[in-house]
Amino acid sequence: MSRAALACAASALLAACAAASGEKGRLVPLDLPRERVSAAHAPRRIALVVGVQRFDDPRWRTLRYPEADAAAVAAALRDPEIGAFDEVEVLSGGPSRGELEGALQALAGRTRDERDTVLVYVSTHGTLARDATGRLRRYLVARDTRVDAVPATGLALEEVEAAFDRLRSRRKVLVLAACHSGDGKSLLPDDVQAELAGIKSGFFPPPLEEVSRARVVLAASDFGETAREDEALGHDVYTHFLLEALRLGLDRNGDGAVTASEAHDHARRRTYEFTGGRQRPSAHSSEVGADAVVLAGRVRRAGRPELYSYAGRLDGFTLRVDGAPLAELPGGVALPPGRHRVQLAKGGGPELLDAAVRLRDGERVDLAHLVDRAGRRWEVAPRVGVLSFLDARSRRDVAGASPGAGLAATLRGWPAAGLSLRLDLAATAGDGRFVQGGFEAPFDFRVLSAGASLPWRIAPRGSAGPALLAGPRLSAVYVERRFRRALAPPGESYFTLAPGLLLGVAVPLGGRVSLGAELQLDWTIVRVDGEDRSTGFGALLGGVGWSF
């Protein structure tokens, strides 16, 4: 009996008893077994398992094992000793796109509690195609998907993502045993293949697992790689090892349950080894705190503390704990509780993280958060460079290009991740020659610029590599001009606010030191000889920075 029906029955009973007594406001004992009430309100475990093996369009190569994959996954999930899922719906025999969409909608109707665990497993071909707007998107191939009409007949991964996000549950796992590389469990239309042949992989749209709001998305292969089936295993390779983790109860932290990340870490490592490094399953988790997505077993005790990361920017980093290398990221390790020295480095590169962390039983710590939190947030950077007005007239009459010096202080990660608050001060002084109607007069000038900017920090190679800075800047500009003439005003000056831009680059030199250069471009109005001049003021500055 569903919870809704049970609730209705209880309400009806209450109403009937109340009516029979003829009195209002009395408490009426209700003979409802406690276990039934508890069961009705207990979180449920629901799975949708899809295997598409054959396709109407003969141009899609028939796959060998999706139905076997689906059956094996469903069996493991149903098994009371393994997954103990309450409901497992299997769509095999070649579901159409409409059937897939319908199944996802029905799934949304069945999950009503945030504590429900939902697993969606899909094993089929993947492909790429341009949609009506010309954007290259990723699709899952249904039975009736046509090679020459993928956008109209395929299932866009973004739709799957959206359906997944609509699920009320906070414990969700999406497992994609498919790929979009054009090889293995994938086929690309000729025009897309021809287009991709001439471009680099950076053109690919960001993988779903990088943008999904779903709690955990597990993919059999990294984006652009091939997901493989294997005759000896009789399954999709990744699926085989994922099932292995569930069946063997590979409970890393000893809490009694196999979580999604524990199962994936095992499947990822074994798939990588089995394929000789040609297939690297990926995962993305937006989860913060304890991993509540249990796929097999039951949490019986607080597990050993774990360190983990599935953040792309930490891929390839080696995790060392107390000096011993324990894991290559992405992945996780379980540790004894207590205080540990945690280090992250890539190859022989500098330590990205070197921190002492105290871990308690049951605690799971995302290394990416640890890096963000432990990262040196402040940087102070002396600067030297050139400051100048940007138009020739102001350079001649007010302040020409001249050497200057300054100081910048940067607070990284504020007001949001990826942003920085940067305060800067720069000054210059020089001299010029003013020309008026055939007469000339020398003058000295001083310019002081104080600004605040919010640059985005774009680090193509991760937080340890060079970074580009770009963002808006608001500055206060003070200009002073003093003629070396007895009849000139003793010191004329002008103060104004100037909106502008900051563009820069920062290159870590190791340790706390980095090398940086910035171009500041401000637009301002300067009142010169009674005339308001619209002009630009620029500064090109560089130097080293020290983080703390």
Binding site: D397, V398, F434, Q436, G437, F439, E440, A441, V479, R481, F483, R485, A486, L487, A488, P489, E492, S493, Y494, F495, T496, L497, A498, P499, W523, T524, I525, V526, R527, V528, D529, G530, D532, S534
Partner: protein, 199 residues
């Protein structure tokens, strides 16, 4: 949209701005100095620009600004019986110093001006008869449009010693010009014959 954004940004920048950069007038300069033993009523002015002048302070100092850049001569009147020409080189937006105890007084080793000179001017018609209603100007000085007295004569001065041009105008009877040499401590007579103006 873009124009309105720029207008708002410009207004904000202007609203937050203060001050301004004003260049000095580089085409003019100033002359300053001091006349020794000056008396009340003394004054100086630029020869050729009698409107550019200043009264002497009690200590004889003066300051004249707005003087065009280049060589200039000041007519200095001590307020009593002395007058002189002071030479100065006016520099762009600078103050040139003349007079005082040491510099620039041409013939005043003691720092005093020479005695002033005067001109008694008279207009004569082509026939030789004196003209009674003429007006006299010593060009470049403050002796401008001075009307003749009852006898047709006028005394112009005090003037610094030097060479000047005397200009005579007689309404309806023409005008005339004549050079005049002003000598220190003397009154010279200048008689100018009127030239009828063309009909």
């Amino acid at each position: 949209m873009r124009a309105s954004f720029l207008a708002v940004a410009a207004s904000a920048a202007l609203a937050a701005a203060c001050g301004g950069l004003e260049a000095p007038d580089l085409s003019t300069g100033a002359i300053a100095g001091r006349i020794s033993d000056a008396h009340p009523g003394g004054r100086v002015y630029v020869l050729g620009r009698p409107d550019l002048g200043a009264s002497l302070a009690a200590d004889g100092s003066f300051y004249v600004d707005g003087v065009p850049v280049g060589p200039a001569q000041l007519v200095a009147l001590d307020g009593a019986e002395r007058a002189g020409l002071l030479a100065a080189e006016v520099r762009s937006a600078e103050v040139s110093w003349v007079g005082g105890p040491s510099p620039a007084l041409p013939q005043a080793a003691e720092g005093v001006l020479p005695l002033a000179g005067f001109v008694t001017a008279r207009a004569v018609e082509p026939g030789g008869a004196a003209h009674l209603g003429a007006r006299f100007t010593v060009v470049g000085t403050d002796q401008v449009d001075v009307a003749a007295g009852a006898g047709g004569e006028v005394v112009l001065g005090p003037l610094p010693p030097g060479s000047f041009e005397l200009l005579v105008e007689a309404d309806g009877r023409g005008d005339g010009r004549a050079p005049v040499e002003v000598r220190s401590g003397e009154t010279v007579l200048a008689e100018v014959t009127l030239v009828p103006s063309a009909p």
